[in-house]
Structure formats: C-alpha cells, structure tokens
Symmetry: D3
Subunit: 294 residues, 6 copies
C-alpha cells in the first residue's frame, strides 16, 4: 500500500512534468462522450422511427422532436463554446465582443437551420445506397444497417462545424464514426450528393478531398496525400473525384492535383497518383501472379 | 430561440417531405439496440462463464440459463414479429392465418432447438482458431479475445434467421459484428465447420459465398462479386471456397462461378476472378518493386 | 412453451458435452467488461482533463487521482489474480508460497510504479503524431481524436502485463483497442518511443515484432509472419523495424529475420519478405495498370 | 428445478383465477414509476436551480425549460390518456368524438397554462413556511429541505388533475408524496394559499377537506371522517378549516360538518368532532397524568 | 491531503477496534439492496400489469413470468443461503449434511409453491381495502396507490421466511416496507385474511401479535408490548385481535394477554392494556378539553 | 402545441416574477441528490461489509476504504464549498483570505479526523439498540434493519457539519433520514452516547434539544417547543433529557426549560410542559375511556 501511495504522488508530480494534462485556467475541452451523446440524439432527429427501442408515436412526433432538438441544442452550445474558447485562447478564432457563448449560440442556430437540407441530402445518399447494392432488399435495411450511411451521416454533420471553423468537434465526430465503421473521412472533405460507400472498412478520405455527385466507393479505398510535410498543411493535398465515378476495393488515389474525370471507373487495388480523363476505366493488369501445385 | 422554434417546425415539416421517417400505421422496425441486447444475451448463453463480470455459480447454472433463455426468447419474438410484419406489409412474406406473432414464436422456438447444434459448430471453430494461430496460448484466450470468433459466432446466429426469411434482423446482426471486428460477413453466406479468420479487419464475405469445412482466412480478404448490377441480385454472385483452403491477407476473389478447389492456398494480395483447381498454390509474383537509396 | 423448456434442458446438457463453458472449481477468468472498465479508468489517469464530461477541477486533482488509482488498483488486482490463477492451474505460472493474491498485488504495485514512465513515453508519441500529420491542428486534437494514440496507449499498458507473464489480460486489452480502432497490435510487440500510426484501420503488428524509435506507419500495414505453424510459436516470427522508418499504407512485411534498416521508407502496397539495408526507399513499380475508354 | 417449473405453471394459472392482473384488451394503467418521473421533472420546472446536481446555467434557462416541458408534456399525455381510457372503459368518463388522446392533450395543455399560477401559490407557501418556523434560517433552506413543501407542491399538482376528473394519477401522486414525507393529503382536498405543515409525519387530510388561507399544521394532525361507510362516498365527510387557523401536533378533527372558525388555535392532541367559533383556543385539559417515584 | 491519508489509516485501524465491520471468514450477510430488488421483482410477479412502465403483452405472459421467477429464485437462493449460513455459524440453525445451499434451494422452492396461495390472500386484502374506504374509486386504485397494500404484501412475503426460521431477510423486508409506508409490521405477526390498514403512517404491529380475519386498522395504531425486557423475548408480548375488529387512529393496545374480542370497535386515541369482550365499543371520554377565547 | 409554446414562455417569464429560482451569479446550492450520494458512501465507510451487494474482500479493505474516502472527500468539499459560499454571500459566514474552497477543505479534513470517534459512538448506539429491544436477535440485525440506527447515524454526521456552522447540508441530511425513517431529528440537537429509538415513525426532536447518555425513545415522541415565534429563534426552545431516561410512544415534551431528570420514565401519550425530578415515573391516568356494547 505504501508503494501505491508513492505511485500516486509520482503520478501527480508527473502531471506537471510530461504534459498530457488539460487544466489551463479551469477551461475545458469538448468531451468525446458528450459529442457521442449529441451524435446519437441527432441520429434520432434525422431518422425518426428508426433508432428508438420503443415504438415512435406518430401523434407525439412534434413533442418528441422539439424535446430532442432543445436538448441537443443545449448540449451543442456547451461543446461548441468550449471548442471556440479553446481556439480563441490560441488566437486562431476570435469570439468578438459578444463573447464565445453568443457565437456558439449563433453557430448552433445556424446548424439547426441547415439540418432540413442535410436530411434532404442524406435521403439522396440512402437512395444511392439502395440502388448501388444488389444485396440491399429495402430502403429500411439501408437506414438500419449500412455502415456507409452511418459514416456519411456523421460526415455531413461534422462538415458543417468544420465549415464554421469550430475546432476539435468535427474531428471527434469523424473519429467516432471511424471507430464504429472503419471508414475514416476527414471532416474537411467536400462530398456531393448521392454518395455511397459499400462495406467501407479501411476507407480513408483526406482533408482536402473534393468528391462530386453520385460517386460510389468500396472498402479499402484511400484518397490520400502524396506528401505529408507539415509545411504543406494548408494546400490542397488530396484528390478530386468528379461526378459519377466508381472506385473499387483497395484502390489508392493520391495527390492534390490528381483529378478522376467524371464517369470513370477505377478498378480494385489500382494505385493512381496522376489524373485520368473523364469516362476512363483503370484496372490492374492481371497476370502478375503464379500458380503452382502444392 | 425564435430561430430554434422555426427550425423545429421546418424539421417536423421535412419529416413529411424527405422520407427517412418510419411511422406507417404505428408499426415499427426491429431496433438495433434491441438486437445488440439479444446478441449479448445469446453470447452468455453460448459461452457460459466467459462473459460474466461476476463468477458464474455452478449450482445455479440451470436457473441462470433458464432465465437468460426466457428473456432472450421474449425479446427475440418481439423483434422477429416486427421484422416479419414489415416484410408482410411489403408482400415478401406471408404470416398466414395464425398471424405474425404465432409465426414469430415458431421461428424463435426453432431457433432455440437449433442452438445446441450451433454451439457444437462453434466448438469446432474454437478448435480451428487455436490450432491455426501459433500466438494462441489457450482455448480460453481464443474465446475471450479473438475477433474472428466474435464474427463467426454472430454469423452463425444471423444465418439461422436469414435461412428462415426473416428480414432486417440478420443484416443488423452482421453489421453489429462488422462494427466491432471490421469483419463483414453477409448473413446469407454458407460457411462450413472449423472456420477461422485471423486478425480479420477488412474481410468482406458476400451474400452468396459458399465456404467448405476447415477454411482459414486472414485480414483484408474479399470474397466478392464481379458485377454489382441490381438486376443480378438473385443470382450467385460470390465465389465458392472448397474445404481445407487457406487465403492469406489482402487477397481478392471475385465472381459467382469462381471456385477455389479444395486444399488450395491463395497468397497475400492475390487477385483472382477465375477458378483454380484443388491443391493449387497461387501467389503474387514478387519482383515488382524497386529499391533505391534515399 | 413446452418446446422452449426442452431447449433449455438440451442447452444445459450441451454445456457438459461441447465445452465453451468455464466453471472449473468455481474459479473464474478475467472479464472483458472488467478489463474495459480498467482501461477507461487508466485513460483518465494518463490524460487528466481530456476524458471527463465535466470540468476537471484543478484544486481537486490529487483527490481525484488518488481515488482513481485506488479504484483501478483494486480492480486490477482482481483481474490479475484471476489470470495468474488460471495460468497457475495449467502449470504455466507459479504463484509460490505467498499465493496468487500476493503476486497479483506485487504486479499491480509494480505497474503503478511504472506508470509515470509510460506517461513520459506516451508524451513523446503524442509529439510524434502532431509532427507527423499535416492535418493535426493542435496537440489537444491528437489526444482527443487520434485512433493511433488510442491503440499505442493501450499497447503500452498491455505490454507491461505481457512482460510480467500475466496471461489473457494483455490480449483482451489489445483486442479492445483493435475493436475500437481497427489496429491490431499484439501485446508482445516491442515498440520504441515516438511511434505514430495514422488512420490505422487494418494495421496488424505481430507478437515478436521489434520496432525502433521514431517509426511511422499508415493504415493497412502488416508486420506479420511467413509461417503460421504452431510448432514455431516460440521463435521470432515477425520483422524488425529499425528507427526512423516510415511504412506507407497497405505495405506487407513478413518474417522474423526480415530487418528494415534505419531511416528507410517503404512505399504503399509494397510486399517484403527480405531485409532492406538502412536508408533504403522501396516502392511498387508503377505501370502495372491499364487504362481504357468505357 | 422441476418444482420451480410447476410453480411457474401454478402462478400463471392463478393469474386467471385470483385477479390482481391487468391486461384487459392490451390497454394499460398509468405507471407509478412513470408518474414519479413526471413529478421529478415538474419539480425541476417549478424550482429551477434547486434540484440539479450540476450548476444551472442562466443563459440556457429557456432551452432547459423548453426541453423539460416538452418531455414532461409528452409523458403526461401518455399517462393521462391511459388514465382516462381506463375511466372511459368503466363508463365514468367520456372521451367524446375526438378520442381519449385528444382529451389528454387538452388537459395537459391546460395544466401547463395553469403552472405559472401554481408556482405563484407555492411561492406564498414557501414564505409561510419561512415565517412559521423559527428554525428556518433561509428561504433556500425551506425549498431544499422541508418535507411540508414537498407534500404541498405535489398536492397542488395532483389537485389540478383531480379537478379535471382524471382518475388514478392524482392518487398515485399523493401516495408518492406520502411515502417520501409521511404526509397523506388526499388530492381532493381544497387548500388555500400560504399553507404550512411542519415536520408533518402522520398528517392525514381527507378527500373533502376544505382549508382556508394561511393555515399552519403540525405532525400527526388528522382531518378525517366520522363515518367510513361506502354509501357516503359522495358527501362532504371531512372538516372545514377557516383561514388563519393553527393546529398543533396530534390533534384530530373529524366530520364533514365540523368547521374550525377563522383565527382559532387547536392545541396538541385535541380531539374534536364539533365546530368551534372563530378566534377560539382549544387545548387538552392537563392534569390527567400521574407522577410516581420509581 | 496528508491529513486525509492519516484519517484513512485511523479509520482502517478503527475497523479492528470498534466493530461495525462484517468480514468474518469471507462470509457475507444478506444485502438490503439485494432484498429490495427481490421485493420489486416479486411485486411484478404478484401484480402483473400493474407495475410495468411499458404495456404488459398478454401473449408473452408466461415467458415474462418464467423469466421473472427464475431470476427471483436465483437471487433469493443467494440471499437465503447467506442468511442461514450466518445463523448456522451462530449455532441457531443447522444446515445439515446437504449444506446451506441445498437448504436454501428447498426453502425457495417451497416459497414459490406457496406464492399462488399468498396471491389469493392478497386478493382478499384488496377487496377489504376497496370495501373499507369510501374514497376508493376502483380496485385498480387500491392496487396502484394504497400504502396499506404495499405493507401487507411485503408482510405476507416476509412472514413466509420468518416461519421458516430464515434470519435477517424477513426483518430487512419489513423495514423496507416501513421506510416506504410508515407502517411497521414485525414479520413474526400472524395476520388473517382481508386485512386493511388505511393511511397507515405510524402503525406498529409487534412480533407476537395475532390478528384474525377481516380486521381494519387506521394510522398511528400501536399493537405493542407492556414490557421490553430482553429476558421475555421468547414469550407472547403483543395483543391478540379477533376477527371483524376495527381500530381507529392513534389507539394503543398493549400486552401479550390482551385480547380484543371479535367484532369490537376501538375508538381513536384509546389506550388499552386489558382485554375487552366481543362486540364491545371502546371510546375516549370526550370533555377533557377546554375552549377559550384568544 | 402553440398553447404549449405559450406556456413555456409564460413559465420562463414567471421565473423572473415569483422567485423559487436559484441562479444568482452562477453560484449554486448544495444538491440533495449529491448529499444523498455522500451519505450512502459514508454509510459504507462506517459499516464496512454491511452495505455491499457483493462480498467485501478482506484483503482489499484498505484499498476500498481509501477509494471511498477520497471519493467522498472530493464530493464533500464540493458541497461544503457551495454551502459556505452561499452563507458567505448572505454575510452569515466569512471564508477569510484563503477563500471558501480552502475553508471547505479544512472542514472536510476535520470531519474525517472525527469519523473514527463517530464510529465509536455509533458502536455504543448499536449495543444500546440490541439490549433495548427483546425482538432483536443479533447485532447484525440491528445494523442491517433498524430505522433508529439509520436516523442516529445520519444525525451524528449532520451534527458535525452543524457544529461547524455549515448551512443547508445538515438540514438536507436530516431530511433524507426523516424521509426514509419517519424520524425527524434537527441537526442542532445534542445527543449523548448509547441512544436508541425504536420503530421511530413520527419522532420529532427539536433544534435545541439536549439528550444525555443511554436514553431510549419510542415512536411518535415529540421533544418540541412551546413557542414558535421567529423572534425566539436563537433561544433554547426544546427540552433537556438527562441520562438513563425512557420515553414511551406518543409522549410529548415541550419547552426549553423543561428538564426530564435522570433515570425517569415517561409513559405513552404523556403530555409534559414542565420539568420532572430524577427517577420519576410519569404515566397517563387510565380510566378516561368508556366501553359499550355495540
């Protein structure tokens, strides 16, 4: 026990020495658990009747929606205020005369303004998934069980906060989706309507990626950077995928100037660091494997 | 605040416009949270003494098993009834004169009839994992910590409901396992005894895949379709893997007519769209990489 | 109902027949849920102020740390005692005259002794991640949202218990991290300071891997074995990666005698089963793909 | 175990024989646990800042209030609908053409209309308690710790629903308060402003009691009926207490025609079955006890 | 902080000195929280459809009952085994050759055998309450909101275990009911059918009380002992109340030889230490109070 | 719905008008729920092995005690700081130069210093209860199920904070015990060792009561004030009970100058407003009741 007491003292001392501690001025960072709660609430707001354990009663729909939205608004204001206050301390963000609380309220009000449009976009994504997968038996199955829908839903929410310069929250959101789905979409990525990711494990979509409408992506696809030098952090480092493109499993497309022209098909395991013109098919040359008897 | 009130009204209106809402006739869909509870209960029924936080008391084993099974049966009947009612509304399933509740009871009774046989098959899977991985120190370690065991356990449960034409539940089950393990096995896949997946992240096994006994698969393996056209939804689109086959990490095998003959070995990263005869070894030709000095 | 009663009896009988049951002598195995709780507690001890939903009050830091450490110590002693008792029953571990409880206490005391040093190492890992990813905007973002940090944090804890011959617990820990991050690091792997895994989904690092300081790894990298024969379980089966090496996405490096020399760079999707000298660049020869018009 | 199976069958059979079972037509009764939740929510709506474990943030007061009220409204509509449907089945209540749900909505809307007036009345009750007890150090202490305040708060809510002929809910509410405080006020009692009960254990106030403004009551006081014949259920059976009356501990006042005139004082343990004129003091004649040496 | 560390040591030392600690031989006492859970489960078994927050589904009634009974049986065996082991260590109870676990199983099996008869008795109590209180509007109201029903329900369960010489559990049960209702019935009391307690706060019914059928009691009634000498612990110290007796509020009846003859009525606040013959009315002589003008 | 929106606005407006709202300057009051948690934790610290649902492991006793005490200390400092800050705002308490947090820490340190002595006193109270009640079968039964023990345990804790001028917390503590037991002891009362309250419902012990050692009290006893004028708040208003006194059920003793001499016995329902000398027996003169035939 004496040893444990010594370890406690050593650990508390180490809090001063090695960092990894957040308590500057009593201020605080957004909470991953808090963000996860918010995402779960928003999921129920976006897909009413699909997430509840109990039946959703139709004649209480507005009561339920209002309660959920007030609750989520309250929690979001708290987390956004913590995030922009953090940013404001570092000088990256200015809360202005009204203070960070007022700015947080404004951002959250804007977010709920935008939410019906986000739902409209997600409805198109659901259609794209249903059409894009022969194994999908119904729209309901897509909403209930497709990890790609989970990932794109979270992305469209995270991207809103990214576009408003809110720090930390968008990345925490995208990592929550990454952990659940294996799909890692940076909140900075700009993704068009009717987007579908099938299976999805191992997909990586980088910060400055631009994706057009009606794009379909399979598991293990990387849309990445050629260089990972810190100095190039503010340049476009990830590719542009134009509309109507399909990218099969395991393909890797790298570079901020790489453009996959509209209507193209990129085969499985293809490795691309240069642009391809519209309506192109790119596939791995087969034949590079050998067969033998055991 | 006035803005938030307007957003609430806009969202509730959007519930009528953009879909993504489930409340037709007060009926409801199976709940993902409910299915996750059921899987957790079934896990304790299948592996008694391996999942409890507290010691399992041997002299209460039948009491505990009976309680768990009654509870799980009750929950399963609820979810199965919701699922087949959904299917019945769409005309894909007929509940007959007895009604969907009676059919749900019958299916759940059949399920618990089958469960001892499923446990027997899983016991063989555990043995296969222990034999197949030199890093496995004990049978207990396999049951406690192998994601492949988690995935195949859930698959064998999901496949039962799939084989009884219950919609939604099997896919929700397989996605829960996919989320936890990164292993995506469609509940339609027919998988023989003594099946072992090592590491597993990124594995995809499609709906019409057929796998024989004693097959071993590594991370990143895809058993997929060549075509993803919706019209071909009811054909065999995924490969057949005969018994005693090993498929190493990252290999891709595509096509409903592709058969990997018994006893074959498919090397890492191999890309196959055609059948190979029994006892064949297929490997990537090395030498396609370049070395240079920095 | 009668059928359900029969199924209960059949299942309870099957507990005697098919194994998968743990209740020998009333002893018990470590609990996955219990280990998950411990990891969550340790996460708060290691990163104070980053995990709490509520503000961390600075003037209660020692009170909070002491409470957390006493609680975690108590839980850890329970789980370690169960684990080494299990091992002791199989003859792999001897608890000596003092009994397994005393040995468990000693191991846990040693663990908390070591924890400040583990925090120091993790502080270097955080710095490496911040420097290594242009998309990282702040140290706080790395701690809050990088799955690679989650994986390496759990690994450094699991590796301590592995190094003390505690069975089961290290593997349960690593599988918890694998499930959350898609990164599968065997607790036996020896990993130097300033280690960074970006994105990470699909990474596999085998039991006897040795990794030097300042190594960077991307998603889908496998550091694996050439042979998976059970007889070779106690040999070095996985590669050695020397300091300052970068391995890009999807690369596969196999074999216990394979050494990647210091300062080398391994390109994406490269497949290596042989050593490379220091300061080497290895990349896939491009050109093995074909383009066509649709 | 066989015995237990027999007992289960016997119990399920007894459900048909001995009553005590509610499942007629799938309809259901209000839930005590549900009503307790509602009371807890309403307590927070009525006394904002006094019930929360965490600080109440002033600038989120409207968000918080709106969320709480929407949630409580939703729950109340459910419970009121169940209650009046129950009453409607027995013919005591008619839900009319609109159906019981619409009536429930109307009653709940009226309730929230009334709530600001109820708060005003309770503010007067708090003042009366503070003035009436020399031991009360502050208004805050009264709100935080006086059981009489708990009882009268619940009564004023229960009385609203009683006055709207909602069955069951008012009595469940009053029993919840009775259980917590030992104060048993029938929801039918009509109680004026500035009412104070000190200590309160054992107080009983009957269904047809009428109490004027500014009345003070101590523990163990009964305001009861002389007759308990079922046939007299619809008559005034309990006393009338006019304004400015004080009733000390243990006094018993019985009978529907008994009127305690305004400004009177009733001493401890007094037993009254007849009216007393205004400004009267009634006390027990002392002297009826004997002293002896041990 | 140093002071707190000293206090921890002083407290742990005091555990050896002042008693109040239970840890002899690793054995344990029944848990109040555990008993409360069991009572809550039994309440649902006894009054199906009256306690659930959600609707009770009729077609799952047997499944639900079986699950509840298996769960409660398991918990009860645990608590009974702890209780009789405690008693056995003190020599008051002998578990015999089969051991305390087997005895506990037998007692619990007997309990569930008895439960349908207990339900039958409680059905008569419910009828008595409905008939006995003019304010009761329905049978359902009695089951949902009468504290007397709560107290007598718990008593009939506690009395079973008392009659089987199980220590501690019956008293813990009766105190749980006492805490909720203010009604303190010793589990040893023998109480006939159709028993009704109205309001109930302050009622005390002693260990050796005997009560006939169809007795009605009001708040504040004491059925107590004249002597409280420890030496008389095993004698009949509390009164006998014959059938059809009514005892009004605040009456005190003391002594083991005091018999209230059948059909008698005891008035409010009466103090009795001697027997009264059947069909007697006893009332306080009024007139012992004085009135004055203020 | 529009009506509900109007009600929300009206309620939020009423927050400004009718008071009952606490949000001055963001400061906050102690939380009843928080105090209840603290009492529950302290109960486990005081009676180790009597409150846990699981077995208390002897060899972890110090670990468990340390964890509990650190946790409780942290929570207590929070609540005490809120309480004295409240008092400090009103000018009743001065936190001095160090600030209220430092004073709170000091008070809590003193409290844990005192706790071993409080345990010693409670050990004597347990003995007194066991000796004083013939129905008590064991010391363990007293600790597990006597409401008088619950009340005196909480009182001795509350009294410590009262004696240190901490506002609100002592009264919240005493009301929590009152709610559970029906025993209402003002935290200001000074109570000697070996105190026993049997049954207890309805007991009221006023703020300035002084009770000597070895006093026994039954249900319904009031130790109260003659006058309840606010101006006399700071005088001794409640009686003094000297050592070795027994007071039977329902007795009322009033007045700050009333002294019950040592060794006296006060009979049931006695009403006393004057002192009695030592070794006196006071009893109600019987005979004031009438018997009649029905």
């Amino acid at each position: 026990m004496h040893r444990l007491d010594r370890s406690i003292n050593a650990l508390v001392s180490s809090y001063g020495e090695y960092g990894l501690v957040n308590y500057t001025g009593g201020a605080n960072l957004p909470s991953r658990e808090g963000i996860a709660d918010i995402l779960s609430d928003l999921d129920e707001v976006i897909y009413p009747g699909f997430r509840e354990k109990e039946n959703l009663e139709h004649d209480k729909l507005k009561l339920i929606a209002a309660e959920r939205i007030y609750r989520t608004a309250r929690k979001l204001i708290t987390e956004v205020e913590k995030s922009i206050s953090f940013s404001s301390r570092s000088g990256f963000f200015s809360c202005g005369h009204g203070g960070c609380h007022a700015v947080a309220e404004l951002i959250v009000d804007d977010f709920f303004d935008e939410l019906p449009m986000i739902r409209k976009t997600l409805a198109a994504d659901v259609q794209a998934a249903f059409k894009g997968d022969p194994a999908a038996k119904s729209i309901e199955e897509v909403i209930l069980s497709y990890p790609g829908m989970d990932a794109i839903t979270v992305h469209r929410l995270a991207h809103f906060f990214w576009s408003r310069q809110v720090p930390l929250i968008p990345r925490i959101m995208s990592e929550i989706a990454h952990s659940r789905t294996g799909i890692d979409i940076h909140p900075g990525a700009a993704i068009g309507e009717s987007f579908f990711i099938d299976h999805g494990t191992g997909v990586v979509i980088g910060e400055t990626t631009v994706i057009g409408e009606n794009v379909k992506i399979y598991q293990g696809v990387t849309l990445g950077a050629l260089s990972v030098r810190k100095e190039e952090a503010n340049t476009k480092r990830h590719p542009t995928i134009e509309q109507d493109v399909t990218i099969y499993a395991g393909a890797t497309i790298l570079g901020g100037e790489t453009v996959i022209g509209r209507g193209s098909t990129i085969g499985g395991n293809v490795w691309l660091t240069k642009s391809v013109p519209p309506e192109t098919v790119v596939y791995s040359k087969t034949g590079n494997q050998a067969l033998g008897r055991k």
